[in-house]
Amino acid sequence: MTLLDHVPSEAQLRRSAYRRRQTVHSVLVAAFSTAALGTLLVIAVTGAPGWDRVRRSFLDPQIARDALPTVLSGLWLNVRLLVCCAVGALLLGLVIAVLRTLRGPVFFPVRALAAGYTYTFRGLPLIIVLYLLTLGVPGLRLQGMPPVLVLGGIALVLTYGGYLAEVFRAGIESVHSSQLAAARSLGLTYRQTMRHVVLPQAVRRVAPPLLNDVVALQKDVGLVSLAGPIDAVRAAQIATAQTFNYTPYIVAGVLFVLLAIPLIAVTDWVTLRAARRQSGG
């Protein structure tokens, strides 16, 4: 309005009007299709002949309230175990990856051992590792046997360390060999090259898949419950057995999603930032 000298042409006005109409049109279409799909889903689910029974046995608010405290106290175990195991598995994975990428014939046995480890523990089902460590190892009855939670944590670290080592190795190998050559020609030792040139780039590149594995670990830590401790899912199972109502599982499921959201958000943010940096140079 202040720019009085600017008068949009007839054609410009027509174009703006057309664009506005188009925008309104798209919004309406999107709203309509979303509403249609939503209605369809609601009708399909709530209209199903067994909906009442399903709602009673999976979505009972009273049972959800009753189960919440025990499921929450179970979840606390998951959280503690997750933090310890994530740190342990990341460290172990990094060490194994560095060992596996060592050059020179003298390191062959180290490389072979590291490769053997990743082959074994990526192939071995987690449950079997857990059984071996939590029910097998205590059978040795050695002095100073750690508690079952520590043993279960070791099983998780061993298994996830295998996956994470491969992710780290992919990152290390993605750093172009010309950079290594450049670093060495500047007089950096192998250790310095790794520390200052290779690893910073490698870790940054593989951060999204690393965090992805941590999210997966979050759901798997609960498996230590097979050795006795009560995690969130086990607490839900116990509550379910007492009431013959599956609502506690839904409670545990919702809590797990809530727990995963921050981690997934961080993963997305890191991925986005990495993509921006790489395209921005």
């Binding site: 029910l135 205590p138 059978g139 009855r141 079952v148 419950s225 097979l226 050795a227 006795g228 401790p229 009560i230 086990r234 199972q237 116990i238 379910t240 057995a241 007492q242």
Partner: protein, 287 residues
Amino acid sequence: MASRSRPLALTLAGAVVVATAGCAPQDEKPTPTVTAASSCAKDSLPTRTPGKLTIATDQPAYEPWFSDDKPDNGEGFESAVAYAVAEKLGYTRADVTWIRVKFDTAIAPGPKDFDFDINQFSITEERKRAVDFSAPYYLVRQTVIALKSSKIAGRTSLAELRDARLGAQVGTTSYQAITDVIKPTAKPQVYNSNDDAKKALQNGQLDGLVVDLPTAFYITGAEITDATIVGQVPQVGTPEAFGLLLDKNSPLTSCVSGAVGQLTTAGTLKELEQKWLAQVAGAAELR
């Protein structure tokens, strides 16, 4: 259920329905009247062999339910119960004949060679479609077992188990017995199966394991021989109930059930349980 036209039998059958459906000790159930007892008199009972009572069990018959695999010696809980029921029905020890029938054969539908079978049969709706059950003569109790080297071996009261690390299978009455009755200070350990729990007990990761009494006898007798029964926990939850098994729609069901009911009311079954399971088999009661 037996569907005879005689009203007294019907009344009895009704009492049986109530008793089995309730699955609880018949504390104040009306005792069968004298006339009812007379309709269940020895002479009028249509047993396999008139004047004789044919009782079946499996071979081998295990301790402590039987003794020395000899059901006719009257020793062991189930042998004693069988003779008590026979006596209530008016049969002397000499009138009782034992035969051996496999567990699975007995619960399968089809004609039976016995008047009743006593072999730790749990009463279930599913089985009731194929066979008849008497009123329960035994309600399964939860039991704490421990390694002989465990700190809780030899303890005698529930209070003494407070500081124990106890475990049970998930979703069982055994777990309920820990959380509702024993209430230990340490969190109970929960396992997917009794096999995992037994391993943990053997490893010394648990001080004690809670299982039902028949399982406790089996574990301590055959599977983990260096384990021992600490004691029985007071009844909790909806216990499994053992009943005498009869042919489907057997004319004897109501009379046998009535006899079991009378034995429960008179406290005879409680005494037998105390004698053969708690004292002889060493599963003392924890109080």
